[in-house]
């Protein structure tokens, strides 16, 4: 591949660079600036070096304790919803019709939760789950289950998780459905001929063909759930106690509740860094999978160890009749 090298092309990037600089880099620099300082209001700042960062990573301090606890809760939350939403999304996608008007109906119904704004979702579940007037909460209590997400930590967690599953499983299902639709009919027909069971079809055809979209689904759901703020904030406000306080909720408490700009800045930088690193890992994994695929198609002749052997008929089987 011969590419023309023309360094002047960098000028084309300049406008974007300027926009990004003003919209992202400069604000980020103020955050970096804050994270190194302490303030007691009145626009008076004192140099604190890496003090906040040290505190942040030390569980014995107040800041570190709160950060690490919320980080742990957040990771647990992400793992739980991934463990539920990914298999559930696959099951939903598999049970969707492949053709006919029901396809459109299913797609619309599935897309509905995705179209609802975050804090509306939160409000829906906040009311839905209330033991006094909420349908869910009232019914649960009426049949003898003592359910109250305001006072019981487990109930709060269950509510937040069920809400996220309700809100986002559709995304996984839609992605998987797109992956499934791209499988040519011939594969299913061949599997029928080969006598494959439903499970064998899933394992040999559907899952391998879905793995790309599944990676994307896992990435999107992980990032999103790791940054979750609005819904649990609206439903539980991080409570009861701190039991559903995730990193972003903690961050807002520190930044806007206590107005500890330095601590909040340090926390957001570390938070940001974690997200970037996870993103990068996912990206690398995904592009590696892509590269492997590309190598497959590009190096086909080279991939054959003994091409000539594969092409030549076995002498004993050489057809006797010549060209007809």
């Amino acid at each position: 591949m011969d590419k023309t090298v023309n360094q002047k092309a960098w000028f084309l990037v300049l406008p974007v660079f300027l926009v990004v600089a003003f919209s992202a880099v400069l604000p980020l620099m103020t955050v970096v600036n804050y994270s190194m300082q302490d303030t007691f209001g009145n626009n008076q700042f004192f140099w604190n070096g890496v003090g906040w960062f040290k505190e942040l990573l030390d569980p014995s301090t107040d800041l570190g304790g709160r950060f690490l606890a919320s980080l742990g809760r957040n990771l647990f939350f992400s793992l739980v919803i991934l463990a539920i939403e990914v298999p559930l999304g696959i099951v939903v996608a598999l049970s969707m019709p492949r053709e006919g008007w029901t396809v459109a109906a299913c797609l619309i119904i599935l897309a509905l939760p995705l179209l609802i704004p975050w804090n509306v979702v939160g409000t829906i579940w906040q009311i839905f789950g209330r033991p006094d007037i909420g349908l869910l909460g009232y019914v649960l209590n009426a049949i003898g289950i003592d359910y109250n997400y305001v006072s019981n930590e487990v109930d709060a967690w269950v509510t937040v998780i069920v809400m996220d599953v309700w809100h986002w499983t559709s995304l996984v299902a839609l992605l998987c459905y797109a992956g499934l639709k791209s499988i040519p009919d011939a594969y299913y027909q061949a599997a029928q001929i080969d006598g494959a069971s439903r499970w064998a079809v899933f394992k040999a055809i559907q899952l391998p063909k879905m793995n790309r979209v599944l990676l994307i689904a896992v990435l999107l759901r992980f990032m999103d759930s790791f940054m979750i703020y609005t819904e649990p904030f609206v439903v539980t406000g991080g409570g009861p106690g701190n039991s559903t306080t995730f990193v972003s909720i903690e961050l807002v408490k520190i930044a806007l509740g206590q107005f500890d700009l330095g601590k909040a800045a340090a926390l957001s930088l570390v938070y940001n860094l974690i997200i970037l690193i996870v993103c990068w890992i996912f990206y690398t994994v995904m592009t590696n999978a892509g590269v492997e695929r590309k190598v497959q198609t590009e190096s086909e002749p080279a991939a054959e160890p003994k091409p000539s052997a594969a092409l030549k008929p076995v002498p004993a089987l050489k057809p006797k009749e010549g060209v007809a």
Partner: protein, 361 residues
Amino acid sequence: MARIDLVDLAHSYGGNDAPQESFALKPVTMTWRQGGAYALLGPSGCGKTTLLNVISGIITPSRGKILFDGKDITPLSTQKRNIAQVFQFPVIYDTMTVGQNLAFPLKNRGVPKADIDRRVAEIGRLLDLEPYLNRKATRLTADAKQKISLGRGLVRSDVAAVLFDEPLTVIDPELKWQLRSKLKALHRELDLTMIYVTHDQTEALTFADTVVVMHDGRVVQSGTPAELFDKPAHTFVGYFIGSPGMNILPAEVRGREALIDGHVIALNRSYDNLPAGAKIEIGVRPEFVEVVAPAPGLLTARIERIDDLGRIRFARTRLGDAKLAARAPAGFTSSDGSAGLKFDPSHVHVYADSLLVEGAA
């Protein structure tokens, strides 16, 4: 291993109430004998894939029955029918090795491991896939992939028939030739009934002992390649088989003579009882018409061009509105572009409404 009978079988994608002219597969009754090598030949859209899918059970026919060894299997699903099918495009289970791919149909049917291994090794050997058996089935060339698909079709020794749906479409011409010869050899070796769908007459004629020609949803003729060549039962067969195809000319036929433009062409048999009002044509293969210098008593045609095919030359001529191809003997040239036509009477056939008429001796 079975004889396959089709009894008044038909299929319409529009349901049974649709007019019969719109049926993808018009009613057909025929028998495929066990161990035969069949080719299902016809142009795209003539219903050959439909027929194949009906036999394999991917499509349930809207009418008629399919019998395997006399047993009605029409309502059975593909899995329950004892049949293998290879598709136009290779289907590879790419999380498995080549060997596992070959073993898949056996494993799904609960065949004991020792038998699977033996059978996979045998098919691997026959298809020259031995060096790859333990490799992942990805990163293979198209022909290697299609060989795996073929292997999966051939791996079960007890199948009633192996159906091939234009399996060599994606293969380069050179390899195509080799794979086809290999299939033919496998047919002899494995004693399986094979039905091979194709729109390529060379492929059909080289592979099969019996060629079934389909046209517009109908089976128009089934016979050996020689029969199809020498005695096409339908003008379509004459035109479709052979290159160039058979010449079909409107003519007036009386007794042992055909009249074209007032010229008499001798016929070997006598045709006295032709159906009244039918469209009468004569058909003759280009191989059996010779262009010679114009002479009285010979039909005269205008030569448009002469195609040199290497071992034979064909003159493309025009006879009034009709086109006609004829053999041009070595050394033949025409000064003014006109030529006389010499017919070989034993190879001139008479068709009434496109169907072959057997004359009286």
